[in-house]
């Protein structure tokens, strides 16, 4: 009797859960809302949400259900990332995760949450070369190219500009050390000299002693691999104030409008920063139009990759028929260079193709994507300079 009661209660609970699940299909959207990329993340989240809104406006997923993005905050660090992802996976029962936004968080979340749970993860901005080597059972993707490429391209660009001697200050985390390592290897092998190379910890009030050490090597160019909302800003400020270096070069994390807002464009004439750029394409134009109408700036860093990550997640969920275990394989098949081309915003077309059983090749706002076996994508970069209150392209990077 008792057992029957328990069984019945269990059955009721299951029905209740299934009905709840019928209403919405949940995906996680894990961003660096607080922490050192706080100024970048609003555009990234808005771009991801745009993709979800377009999906819902054009028929939804799995036969008319709404795709719902559950927001989480990774604070751009591994601990908070794991906490938030665990909640999304276990409590919210998401079918896939868009994000997290920072490399360290991606590695930690993938290793200890999503890979064990068999949940697919697409990061729009986790750029560390380490992510390529994850033993992920093909569950981890990114819509942004690896920093292995950015670091090398930046090294070649600087050498081509005639900068032969630099000092490198990098944040002691997966993002900073990955990018700095790739940069240093290429810069020295192509004949440049790295006259100072040091990591620093986040959140200290003074980096003048670090900068004095770096400057003692005699370089007049400082390459900073850090976040422009975090210590990167402090380092740049103290370096400018004390005249340790004349020229400053940042990685993509430094291309934050926070540094222009806080330091003033007039002080940043010698600052340049590399950043991934979307290739001009129909898909990119469609995204730009839709995002501008929604009140966003399509030039914002990682906006295109964030949009693509969300759109691909929706495609994955649809193709896999909502089966969490199949989402990753479905994502890989949705952008592999084979099949009917689908561009940004064309959810209705995608639905029809999937219904007809045809293969899809998603052409992203950020580029053609086309995941390789490691879940990485190729990409292109440009070197940006400060122009008024924003950044403008100085030169493309090869």
């Amino acid at each position: 009797m008792k057992l029957a009661k328990i069984l019945m209660a269990g059955a009721l609970a299951t029905t209740a859960l299934t009905t709840a699940a019928m209403a919405d299909v949940k995906v996680g959207l894990l961003g660096g809302i607080s922490g050192p990329i706080a100024a970048m993340s609003p555009s990234m989240i808005a771009a991801s949400k745009l993709a979800i809104a377009q999906v819902n406006a054009q028929g939804g997923v799995l036969g008319g259900q709404k795709l719902e993005a559950i927001l989480g905050d990774s604070a751009c660090n591994p601990q908070n990332g794991v906490d938030a992802a665990t909640k999304l996976v276990n409590v919210e029962q998401i079918v896939g995760l868009i994000g997290p936004h920072c490399s360290g968080a991606v590695l930690a979340v993938a290793n200890s949450v999503t890979i064990p749970a068999g949940v697919a993860l697409i990061t729009p901005s986790g750029t560390s070369p380490e992510i390529t080597g994850l033993d992920d059972g093909d569950k981890v993707f990114r819509t942004v190219p690896s920093d292995d490429y950015q670091g090398r391209a930046l090294a070649r660009t600087l050498l081509a500009q005639g900068t032969k001697k630099v000092a490198v200050a990098y944040l002691n985390n997966d993002y900073g050390s990955g990018l700095a390592g790739a940069f240093k290897a290429e810069f020295t092998s192509k004949g440049g000299e790295v006259a100072g190379y040091a990591a620093h910890e986040e959140g200290k009030a003074s980096y003048r002693s670090n900068l004095a050490e770096l400057a003692s090597g005699g370089a007049d160019t400082l390459v900073i691999f850090d976040y422009g909302d975090g210590t990167g800003l402090t380092i740049l400020r103290q370096s400018l104030e004390n005249g340790f270096f004349e020229n400053f070069v940042g990685g993509d994390g430094m291309k934050s409008e926070a540094i222009i807002k806080e330091l003033g464009a007039e002080n940043l004439t010698t600052f340049t920063s590399s950043s991934p750029v979307g290739e001009a394409s129909d898909s990119n134009a469609k995204f730009t139009k839709a995002f501008t109408e929604a009140g966003g700036s399509a030039d914002a860093i990682f906006a295109t990759t964030s949009y693509d990550a969300a759109f691909l997640m929706a495609l994955g969920v649809e193709i896999a028929g909502g089966d969490k275990a199949k989402v990753a394989a479905a994502i890989a098949s949705a952008s592999n260079g084979e099949g009917e081309k689908v561009e940004a915003g064309e959810w209705k077309k995608a639905l029809e193709l999937i219904k007809a059983g045809k293969a899809i090749d998603y052409q992203g706002a950020s580029g053609s994507l086309d995941f390789n076996a490691k879940g990485d994508v190729p990409g292109s970069y440009a070197l940006f300079k400060v122009d008024g209150d924003s950044f403008s392209v100085k030169t493309t990077m090869k």
């Binding site: 040091a198 200290k204 004095a212 005249g243 807002k261």
Partner: protein
Amino acid sequence: MGIYELINFYVIPGLVLGSIYALGAVGITLVFGILRFAHLAHGDLATFGAFTALAVVATTGVNPWIALPVAMVICAALAVGIDKVFYDYLSERPKIITVMASLGIALMLRSLIQVIWGVDTETYTRGIVRPDNYWGFRIRDRELYTLLAMFAITGALWLFLQKTKWGKAMRAMSDNPDLALLSGVDNRLTTMLTWAIVGALCAASGFFLGLNTELKSMMGWTMLLPMFAAAILGGVGRVEGAVLGGLVVGVAEELSVLVLPSEYKAAMAFAILIVILLVRPTGLLKGKLL
């Protein structure tokens, strides 16, 4: 490396940093000494003070220095309020519960800051300030003022504790709360007074940190460890010890770059904390045993 370079780029930044630590450590040492628990919300209270000053600057456009006393008063009121609502309620329980409660307060304060002011990095004034040259020593006005203000504030506090009736009551409570109560000291009022002073000190340390770098919602939390190290190094319960401890920790962190890889700079406070607890648990100036 020349002596000027050593002083300009290592010692002066260390002293400025040390002043900020010192202001925080004095507050920690007071709570430790008088109320007998480790106050983990100290850093976030400092962040709150810094952002309160920012709000004053942003809304009225006054000089940040005028905003400092306003922020100190508001933060003092907040600290008294937190004590009244949370800590006082737990005062009869084992102290570890209050310590854990203060961690909760820290998280609440931080979230409040993020809700009110957002998560972007802010500054009191836009742009950069290049240092002035004094016979080869490169010092910014704000660094000089930070150091002077720290000595002025802690000096005034020291005089208050030594010379006034209420200061004596606070010291009496620090020595033995039951005896103080029997001698006619109003423990409740003394506790409130302590919190008001601690809140004001928090606001000052947050303000100077923000003035010398930037304002971030995590800025106070990351300062907590060096502040505790400074308080314990100086001797728990000793105001002048906390000042000394703060300056030592600040300068040691900056100088550590000369001998250690720079990523270990943050570990300096840990190292000092462990060594002092092993070698001289009462601290440099003979404070209370923990």
